[in-house]
Symmetry: D2
Subunit: 374 residues, 4 copies
C-alpha cells in the first residue's frame, strides 16, 4: 500500500481515463483510483454527442478547445480498439441543429455565417432538405444547421475504452477506493489518504467531475461548480429511424448502433440525486415526438441519469492548484465531458510533464473567479 507512482489519477470516468492513458503512453507509472465502479457516473450516462459546433455557438476558448478535441477522436478510436478491443462507436454522419421557430431560423443562420467566417464547415438546410436526408423527421422542422464534423461516440464505450487501454499499457486501476484527503510536503502534494491506506506520488490529478469541489475544499480551494442532473432514455427499432444526430433546444436524438436511439437530456441543477423522474421522461418524450413522430412506435429500452459538473462561467477548470504544486484539476466539463476528454487527457499529461500544452489554458485556470471576471 506504500507504492510510489509517477502520477495518481483520482476518478474512473472519461477524463480520468484519458489522463491516465496519456500519461501511460508517455511512460509514466500511473495509479488510477475510483471510489465506485468505472464509468458509473456522468461518463457512463452521457449520450456521446461531439457537438463542438452545435453546442458552442460562438467562437472563444471553449470552442477552440472543443474543435481540437473533436479532431483527436479518429486516431483515438484506432488506438483504443487495438489496445482494449473496445469499439468506441465513432459515427461521423453529421449533426442537425434543427429550428422549430422563425426566431431559431434567424438565429441559426447568423451562427452559420459567423462559423463560416471562422472557416468552419456548416450549412443551412431547409426543412425539406432536412427531411430528404432524414425522412422520419417532423414537418414542424423549419430548417437546420447541418454540421458535417459534429459526430458522436458511445460514451460508456469511450470511457471504458480509455480506462482499459490505460490498464493494457500498465496503469494500475483500482475500484472501490475513495480518496479522503491529500498529503503535502511543504507546498507540494505528496500523496493521497484513502479508505485502503495511503498512496504516494508527486503528481495527483483530480478528475472526479461533480464531486471534485468537495474533495478540494480541504485544500482551501472553492471551485465555483455545481451539479446538474441530466436524464436520458433510449429506444430501439429494427429499421434505423435516423442517420445523423438531431440537436434541438431541450432535446437531442442520438442514433446508436443497431437501430438504437438515445434521447436526452433534462437539465436539473443543484442536485446529486441520480433518480429518473416521471416528469423527466414525459417531457423528453413529448419533445422527441415533436421532432420525429415515428419514435412513438419505437420500443422502449431504459432510462437513466447522470450528474454533470457545471461552472459559474461555463468553462471547465483545467490546471494546477493555485497553492499546491503537483495537484492538478480537470473538472467542470458540464455537457462537454465526452467531447473534451481527448484534449483534457493531453493537456493534463502536459501539465504533469511541465510541457507547454498545445492550447492556452489561461481561460480554464483554477483560480479564476466570478470576482476576477467583474
Amino acid at each position: 500500500m506504500s507504492d510510489t507512482y509517477d502520477a495518481i489519477v483520482i476518478g474512473g470516468g472519461v477524463n480520468g481515463g484519458s489522463t491516465a492513458y496519456n500519461l501511460a503512453k508517455r511512460g509514466k507509472k500511473v495509479l488510477l483510483l475510483e471510489k465506485d465502479r468505472l464509468a458509473s457516473k456522468a461518463s457512463g450516462a452521457a449520450a456521446g454527442m461531439l457537438a463542438a459546433q452545435a453546442e458552442l455557438d460562438e467562437d472563444g476558448p471553449l470552442f477552440q478547445l472543443a474543435k481540437k478535441s473533436r479532431d483527436l477522436f479518429q486516431g483515438l478510436a484506432g488506438e483504443i480498439k487495438t489496445l482494449s478491443g473496445i469499439d468506441i462507436e465513432l459515427i461521423n454522419k453529421g449533426m442537425y441543429k434543427v429550428a422549430l421557430t422563425n426566431e431559431q431560423v434567424k438565429e441559426y443562420k447568423q451562427i452559420i455565417s459567423i462559423q463560416q467566417k471562422c472557416g468552419e464547415t456548416v450549412q443551412w438546410l431547409t426543412g425539406d432538405e432536412v427531411r430528404s436526408k432524414e425522412p422520419n423527421l417532423s414537418d414542424a422542422i423549419l430548417g437546420a444547421m447541418y454540421i458535417e464534423k459534429d459526430g458522436q461516440v458511445s460514451a460508456p464505450q469511450l470511457t471504458l475504452g480509455l480506462l482499459k487501454s490505460a490498464a493494457a499499457i500498465g496503469v494500475d486501476i483500482r475500484e472501490y477506493i475513495s480518496v479522503d484527503s491529500f498529503l503535502f510536503e511543504s507546498e507540494r502534494v505528496s500523496g493521497v489518504v484513502t479508505n485502503q491506506g495511503n498512496f504516494f506520488s508527486e503528481n495527483i490529478i483530480v478528475t472526479t467531475g461533480a464531486w471534485s469541489k468537495r474533495l478540494l475544499e480541504d485544500t482551501g480551494l472553492q471551485l465555483e461548480t455545481y451539479p446538474v442532473k441530466g436524464e436520458c432514455f433510449s429506444v430501439v427499432s429494427h429499421q434505423p429511424l435516423l442517420s445523423g444526430t438531431i440537436f434541438s433546444h431541450g432535446c437531442y436524438l442520438v442514433p446508436k448502433k443497431g437501430g438504437r436511439i438515445i434521447v436526452g437530456a433534462t437539465v436539473k441543477p443543484n442536485t446529486f440525486n441520480q433518480q429518473v423522474t416521471v416528469d423527466g421522461i414525459s417531457s423528453l418524450m413529448d419533445k422527441a415526438k415533436k421532432l420525429m413522430p415515428s419514435i412513438a412506435e419505437a420500443e422502449w429500452e431504459k432510462a437513466w441519469a447522470g450528474i454533470r459538473p457545471q461552472t459559474f462561467d461555463g468553462l471547465p477548470y483545467l490546471g494546477e492548484h493555485p497553492i499546491y504544486q503537483g495537484l492538478f484539476i480537470a473538472t467542470g466539463h458540464f455537457r462537454n465531458g465526452i467531447l473534451l476528454a481527448p484534449i483534457t487527457g493531453e493537456v493534463m499529461a502536459d501539465l504533469v510533464e511541465k510541457k507547454q500544452p498545445s492550447v492556452d489554458l489561461t481561460p480554464f485556470r483554477i483560480n479564476r473567479t466570478l470576482k476576477t471576471l467583474v
Copy 2:
C-alpha cells in the same frame, strides 16, 4: 419420461398454478409443464387489481364468478404464506373508480344504485371526499365510486406463490417444456407430446392464456379468443403517495409495498408482441398525471407488457373439451386473470374430479360461439 399422472397442467401462470395447487390439495399426483419460465407472461405482468365491482359494472355470470373468487383471497394468502413463504401482498384498502366527466358521474351513480340493489357494498364520494382520503389526487376528479372490497395483490407473487405452494405439496413442476400436441385414446385424452418426450394422464388442463387457442386448434377446436397487449410502468417514492387503488378509464394506479405504484395499462389488441412502446408509456404518463399530479416527481422504476387473452363475448372459457373427455380448458380471462385465479383453480379441480362446481359454468362453456349467441 413415461410417468403417469392423475393430471397434467399445461402453463405456469396464475391459473395453471391455482389449478395445480387445488388438485394437489385434493391428493392428486400432478405434473405442471411450462414452456418458458414460471410467471413469465401475463400473470407476472399484471398490476394485480381485484376489481370485481370496479371492472364489471353489471350483474351477470362474470360478476358472480369474480365476487366468489375475490372472497377466496384472504384464505389463500395464508395458505401460500405457510407453504411457500411467499407473501401475496394482499391489500384491502378499497378501490376508487373515479369520474372525470359529468357523464361518468351520472353513469357511476347509476352503477352504484344497481350494485347496491344487489347487496354490494359501494358508495359515492364527492371529489372533496375522495381527496380527503387520498390527498394527492387531482382536483379534476369530480367524484368516485368507492368499493371497499376491491383490493389488490402482487400478481407475480400470487403466481409464484401458487406454483411454489403446489410444488411444496408435491406437484412436479418443469420449465422449458413445450407441449406440441395431445395423445388420445378413442375420445379421451391420454397424454401430451412435448419437446422432452411424452407424459401420460387422463386429465389434461390447458391454462396457457393467449397461447391456448393455437395449442387446441389441432384438436378441432376454434376458441374465439385474441391476444391483447397491456403495457405498464412503475414508480417509487419514499413517502407513500396513495393508499387505495385508483381506477379510471384507460389508466389505473395501484399502490404496492414500500411506496411503489404500478400504472397500467394500455389495451392493444391482436398482437403477441411484448415490447413496450414510447407511445404506450407516454399516454399512460399523461393520464396518470391528470389523476395525481404529484406522480410527476416520483422516481421512475421500469416498464413492461403482458399479452392477455380476450374472448368474443368477454367471458372466460372454463370447461371440458366438447369432443375429447379429460381435456379441460381455462383461458380467456383478459384483465381478470388474477382476480379469477382462485375460483378458476377450484372449478377446474372440480371438473377433473367430476364434482359439481360451486358456480354454474354454463356461460363459460367451451363450445359456445358467436353464432349460438345470435
Copy 3:
C-alpha cells in the same frame, strides 16, 4: 435546506432504518440521509440469519444483546407489514449448527451444555436425526446443535421495511446525500455539512457501517474497526431442498421463500471492494456441496458481496461520542447487523432521549480501546 430536526440519522441501512423508525415512533421529527441508494450496502447483501446462539458461542454482553434483539423480530414484523406493506419474511424453523469433525462434535456438545445452563433452548441431534428432519443433508454431517429460536429474515426486506415504515410515519428520507462533516457548537453537535447543503439537529446518529470510521476521524475519534468483505450466492429449486437454516464453519445455507437458498459467506478482511471473485464462489460451492450434495442440481441465481464493519474486540460500538454531545454512533456489527438491528434502533433512540437503555451499553461504549482492554 436549513430545516431543523429533532434527530438526523446518517446511513440508509438496517441500523439507520431501525434507529429512524424508533425515533419516529417516539414522536421525533427525523431526517435520514443516505449517500447512495437505500439498502445498497451490507444490509442489502446479508443472508439474514438471526444466529444469536449459533454464532455467539459463549455468554457475554453480545450474546445477551443478540438474544434481546432476536425477541423483537416477531413484533417488528407485524408493525412493518402494517406500515409499509413489506413482509420481512421472518422464518422460525430453527438453525442447525452442524459438526463435520469429531472435534466439532465435542466442542458443540460443550457449548450446548453451557447454553442449557444459561437457560437457552438448544439440543444435540445425531447425524441421522438431523437427516430425518432435513433429508437432503449429507452423510458427512456427524450431528448438530439444533437451535429452535435462531430463525432468519430477508435482510433486504427488513432493511427496506424499516426505512419505508419510518417514512410512512414521517421520517424524511433522502438518497444521494453524502455527509462530509459535522457542525458543532461548543462541545455539542449542531448539524451536518453535506453535498446538498447543511442540515441542523442537536442529535446526529451515525449508522454508516464500515464507512463510519472515516466519517468520524475528523472529530478526533479513531474507531478500531475494519471492513470485511463477505461474498454470497443464491440458488433456486421448485421443491424446497431445506427447511431450517444450516450453519457450519465457513458456509451457511439459508432457505428463503419459494425454494430459494442463500449460500454465504466468505470472510475477506481489509477491503472495501465489493466485487465477487471466482475463488469466492468456487470455495462456497465446494463447501455447500459437502453439506448438501443435491444443491449441485439447483438452479444458479446470482452472486453478490457486502462490506461489513468488524471491530478489534468483536463487539459493536453503541454509544455517544466521547467528546461531542449529541453525536451518537452505532457501528461494528460485523455479521450480526441484521440480528442486532431491532435492539440497536431501540437503544439509540433511548440515548437520544436520554433514557436508560434496557441493556447495559458499557461494553459497547465508543471510547473503549485495545489499550483499555490490556
Copy 4:
C-alpha cells in the same frame, strides 16, 4: 398480413440473420420471423470461438466447410460495421489447444502432422513456449497446438450485427411471431401459418436451431437432432489475463474486449432447459483454475446457458426438404453455429436462387439418416 415475400426466414439467430442478410444483398424481399427476441437463444449464448482447426481434428466435409466460413469473417466484419454500426469484435490472436496429459501431447502432435499435410498453418508449442506467450497459464500445461487462424468473435454482436444489417438493407424483421405450420401448394411450400396470421412466399428457410426438428415434424420429416445444453460464465479483470483463446477438453477460455473472459462450456444432452446449475459452474471453475490459476482472483460477472442442436453424425443439415420444394433447412450446427454462420447464409441463399453452392452440400443433405450411413 397477406404480403408476399421472395423468401421468409424463420428464426432470429445467427444463421437466420446470415441467411436473411445474404438474400437481401442479392436483392430479395425478405421477411424474418422470430418467436421470441432476436439473439435470445444459442446464438446469443455462444462464446464465439472460430475453432475450425481446434474443434475439428480431422479432414472431412465439415472441416472444409468450417475453413471456408472462417475466411469470410474479415469481410463480413466490415460490412456489418458499415451497415449497422455493430462491431462483431473479431479477434485474430490465435488459439491454443492445450495438452494436459502425455496422451494429449501425442494425439495433438499427430493432428498437427495431419493438418500440416493438408496445408494448414498449425504448430506445436512446448509448455514453456505457451507460457512465454500467455504468462498466466498453468505449469500443468504440457504443450499446445497453436492455430494462428482460429480467432473468435462476439457471438451476440455477430448475431445482432447480421440481423440489423439485414434490416438496414430492407429485411422486414418481426419478433414475437411463432410459426405454427407451413402452407403448401401441391409439392411446393407457399407460406407459413403464425400466431399473427399467414405470410406467403415460395421460399421458406428454417433456421430455428434445436427447435427445427419439432417445426418440421408435421411435414413428415424426422430430423435426427437433439438439444445439448451448454453453460458458460464470464469474468473481468482490468489488466487482461489472456491474449489468445485457450481450448482444452471440457473447458475453453475466450478473452473478450476490456479484459473480459468467457469460460465455457458444459455439454448436457437431451434437454431444452436453459437453467444454469451449481454443478455446471463449479465444474467449469475447477477446470478454468487448472488452466489459469490467476482466474481465481478475477471478478465474477455472470452465468448463462444455451441450447445447441446436435445431429446423429455431427454434421449440420443444410439443404432442401426432400418432399417439399422451396422449404430449406439449416440446423444441427452444434458448437459450430457461430463459425459456420457466414457460409450457411451464403449456401442457403444459393439454394433459394437455385445457384450451385461453392461447397458440395451432399454430406449435409436433409434426407441422410443413420440407416443410410450403415
